[in-house]
């Protein structure tokens, strides 16, 4: 009798224990976890509604132009897909109210920009805009600008930069300028002029007349000075041109041939190649006291030096090993090591503003390539190729590379066109940057102050 009761008790206790085990396992099982490690890389669908006017017809026209510039900037980046809002039968929201997110979701709009322009009584223009995340139904950005009416184009670039940064997490590069060498005339008597324009090709201007051959313009970190190579009296010398004062002077205290200039990140020094006693080495040139310091001492030709963003390392190309290759050294000239290891010849290393990559030109198999590699030489990728592609220059955010591509010349007067192109780090988004004349040797300015 007692054994029977005891067995029943044991059975019930076992049942309760089993129930406890089952129940204890339920909460963990209810929380489903899914790991997502892959996605797609597609342009983000964005609608940029025309900025209506709240103060006159002129402001209304400007509002349309502003939206066109913003849309063009974002579309050219390859990361956005501006949708034409005209066919969309969705009401335009007022700047002061929430958009109808459900309607915009129906047309797969993931980001929405709307704004307003107002002509102020003092003649200036007030430009307001908001950026919305349509799926999250959140305002991501909202700003207002008051500016002279003639400055609307630059404000459009500033707005595009703000949108780009807010969505991608990276700085934009739209409020920038590009200096390059404009070429014209037959190939035997080529006229080359220094020119400057906005990054979208607007506001184009020539800075020199073409009486002297000019090459390799480089912006200072302040973007107000340009160092470039200029042949004066048949001697190549590095000049510095100030965009504010228009002063144009050669480097003081240097009588030797200098070329391949580039600014240090602090803007207080230049790094140049200098031919002394028949040997071309890399020197730094202090812009304040005009002193120079030799960094390389080999018998090879060391040129095209480029500082890392932190100023602690320098990339350059040299033929010291028998063929043109890329090298990296410390800023004082020590710890030189070769980083290019592939076949072919490597030249013109340019350190990314991010510091994570070095762009270069490579020749292999009769073709020119624009590529990137990590500072240790790993991860080499070729982004563009052609009969002649050269002169890589980074956008200030380190996501886009500007270069020029030259076609083969048929004769002295035909063919051989040289044009500017941009390509992003994926190599998939290559765009031509239209210039009035042939173009080469581009340089990209930092974001404008």
């Amino acid at each position: 009798m007692r054994d029977a009761v005891w067995r029943r008790l044991q059975a019930m206790i076992g049942a309760v224990a089993l129930a406890l085990v089952v129940v204890a396992g339920l909460p963990a099982a209810a929380d489903l976890r899914i790991d997502i490690t892959r996605g797609v890389v597609e342009p983000l669908p964005i609608v940029i509604l025309p900025f209506p006017s709240a103060g006159g017809d002129q402001a209304s026209d400007v509002g349309t132009e502003i939206t066109n510039v913003i849309a063009a900037d974002l579309e050219r980046s390859g990361l956005f897909k501006p949708l034409d809002p005209r066919p969309l039968s969705v009401s335009q929201p007022s700047l002061d109210t929430l958009p109808m997110f459900a309607n915009w979701r129906l047309v797969n709009t993931q980001a929405l920009v709307h704004g307003r322009t107002t002509a102020l009584p003092d003649g200036r223009l007030k430009i307001e805009f908001r950026l919305w995340d349509v799926f999250a139904e959140q305002e991501m950005l909202g700003r207002a600008y008051s500016t002279p009416a003639g400055n609307w184009r630059r404000i459009a670039h500033v707005i595009a930069d703000a949108i780009y940064k807010r969505i991608t997490g990276e700085d934009g590069y739209f409020d920038t300028r590009i200096a390059y060498i404009a070429e014209s005339g037959p190939r035997s008597r080529r006229t080359k002029r220094l020119a400057i324009m906005d990054q979208d090709g607007a506001n184009h201007q020539f800075l020199t007349e073409g009486n002297n051959l000019v090459l390799t313009p480089r912006f200072s970190p302040s973007s107000q000075d340009i160092a470039y190579l200029r042949y004066a009296d048949s001697q190549p010398r590095v000049h510095i041109r100030n965009l504010t004062t228009r002063a144009d002077e050669a480097l003081a205290g240097i009588a030797e041939i200098t070329f391949a200039p580039r600014y240090a990140p602090d803007g207080e020094r230049l790094i140049v190649s200098m031919a002394v006693d028949g040997n071309t080495d890399i020197y730094t040139y202090d812009l304040s006291d005009h002193t120079r310091r030799r960094l390389t001492t080999t018998s090879g030709i060391d040129t095209s030096a480029s500082y890392s963003p932190d100023g602690r390392q320098i990339a350059f190309n040299s033929d010291r090993g028998g063929s043109l290759q890329l090298y990296v050294m410390d800023a004082d000239g020590s710890s030189v090591r070769r980083i290019s290891r592939g076949d072919g010849r490597y030249a013109t290393p340019v350190w990314s503003p991010r510091g994570d990559l070095i762009a270069f030109t490579k020749t292999q198999g009769g073709q020119f390539h624009i590529g990137v590699m990590r500072p240790d030489g790993s991860g080499e990728r070729l982004l563009a190729q052609g009969f002649r592609v050269e002169g890589p220059a980074w956008a200030p955010n380190g996501r886009v590379i500007l270069f020029f591509r030259q076609e083969p010349a048929l004769n002295d007067a035909q063919g051989g066109r040289s044009r500017l192109f941009t390509v992003d780090l994926t190599g998939q988004n290559e765009r031509e940057l239209v210039t009035p004349l042939d173009a080469s040797d581009p340089a990209w300015s930092p974001l404008r102050p």
Partner: protein, 443 residues
């Protein structure tokens, strides 16, 4: 002896039951009313790299002889950079009784005192030195790039140039320090129109109680006040809802492209409705998918409609004393207790991957792993989603961009509903999606 023992056992069992049901019953963590993405407040200096306020020059118009670009930049230099101190960004406010929009809704720009001017970087002024021609004595090796070797000899130029030339065909662009005054806009107000719900998310029972607005009753663009897309006013919207005939008349006046697009929209609606009907023969109440806060009470109806809780059924089966009225529920509960299979998880993963548009070019130097907590509706659409708190959200722009792209992937209606078995709803009604772009970034 035996009777008291049995009573004692039953009493203890009852206590255990109460303890189990009352204390250990699995509860879903409540979704905090958190808004995942927050507004980024940037300073003017950060936006424009503005070093200082412009010099105090009179804002006179520029001489007409100046080119447009120089004029614009000269004018820009006359502006002061004004940073309006803003409170931390707030999520969008949704007022139950919104006020009609008025132009005065935007606060006037308050001009803060201009920041102190940082020292301007002195432009280098290297003095020219008499050039001593030093012909290169070393033949430099040919290179594919201009900079790789010594510069090429100067080609014949049309005219000999002076040694030092300042003249140029066009005046150079002048530095524009600050393009404009910049202010943060105040938060937008709730639009004075009722937020429409997606057409496939209606429930007949709910419709009877609180009729959702029909799609035809949704506000439509009014005759063009702005040049392209009309703007709606709150009072007009109400009148439109009450007068569908008038709305139809308005629609007939639409230009041809709009009509084309309407047809596309309708087709999309129909497809979505059909898909929903096929996959979910008994849809539950579906508020719109939103990252903010879905209507939780509505979603809880699914729980109420479901059979007895898995805990109760489990326990009933264990002790072998399931109530006679619940055999069907017990059978259903046996299905619910099954875990979501790997193939079902993979199916959802593939769905979300199609919609995860990661901003390319992100810096992969940090941990960008993002966890998103999702509350699901029974029809497979997300009811609410939020990024789980991370200190990087406000510290890293790359992390925030990743998080927001992940949130957009979860909320993208083109990837809904998730292909999950309805009978296992209790298993996936709350899930955590972990987005890790490490593999894509190759880091």
């Amino acid at each position: 002896m035996r009777r008291p023992l049995v009573l004692s056992i039953l009493l203890h069992l009852a206590i255990v039951l109460v303890a189990l049901v009352g204390i250990f019953r699995p509860r879903l963590p409540s979704m905090p009313q958190e808004v995942a993405p927050v507004v980024d407040v940037l300073t003017v200096a950060e936006l424009t790299r503005a070093p200082a306020p412009a010099p105090a020059e009179p804002a006179a118009p520029v001489a007409p002889a100046a080119p447009p670009a120089a004029k614009a930049e000269r004018e820009a230099r006359q502006d002061d950079a004004v940073v309006v101190p803003k409170p931390p960004p707030e999520p969008v406010k949704r007022e139950p009784a919104p006020k009609p929009p008025t132009p005065a809704a935007i606060e006037p720009i308050r001009q803060a005192p201009p920041p102190p001017e940082p020292p301007r970087q002195a432009a280098p002024r290297p003095k020219p030195e008499p050039a001593k021609p030093v012909p290169p004595q070393k033949q430099e090796a040919p290179a594919p790039v201009k900079q790789a070797a010594a510069p090429p000899p100067p080609p014949p130029t049309p005219a000999p140039a002076p040694v030092k030339t300042v003249a140029k065909p066009a005046p150079p662009p002048e530095p524009a320090k600050v393009p404009a005054k910049v202010n943060e806009l105040p938060a937008a107000k709730q639009a004075p129109v009722q937020k429409p719900e997606p057409p496939q998310k209606r429930e007949p029972t709910q419709k009877a109680a609180t009729p959702a607005p029909e799609r035809k009753a949704e506000p439509q663009p009014r005759p063009p006040e702005p040049p392209r897309v009309a703007e709606k006013k709150p009072d007009e919207k109400k009148s439109e809802e009450k007068k569908p005939d008038e709305k139809k008349a308005t629609e007939e006046k639409k230009p041809e492209p709009k009509a084309d697009f309407d047809s596309v929209q309708k087709a999309i609606h129909e497809l979505g409705r059909q898909a929903t009907a096929e996959k979910r023969p008994q849809p539950q109440a579906q508020p719109s998918a939103s990252a903010q806060n879905g209507a939780k009470p509505q979603a809880r109806k699914a729980d109420e409609a479901a059979p007895a809780s898995p805990l109760d059924q489990q326990f009933a089966r264990v002790i072998g004393k399931a109530p006679a009225a619940a055999p069907a529920a017990a059978a259903a509960g046996r299905e619910v207790s099954q875990a979501v299979s790997m193939s079902e998880i993979d199916a959802v993963r593939r769905q979300i991957e199609r919609c995860w548009n990661l901003p390319p070019g992100l810096k992969g130097d940090g941990d960008l792993k993002v966890s998103i907590r999702v509350e699901m509706n029974a029809n497979g659409t997300p009811r609410a989603a939020r990024v789980e708190a991370s200190p990087q959200m406000n510290a890293s722009a790359s992390y925030r961009a990743t998080a927001e792209s992940a949130l957009r992937a979860v909320l993208n209606p083109r990837c809904h509903p998730f292909n999950l078995p309805a009978e296992k709803f209790d298993r996936w009604q709350t899930m955590t999606l972990v987005f890790d772009p490490k593999e894509m970034l190759g880091t």
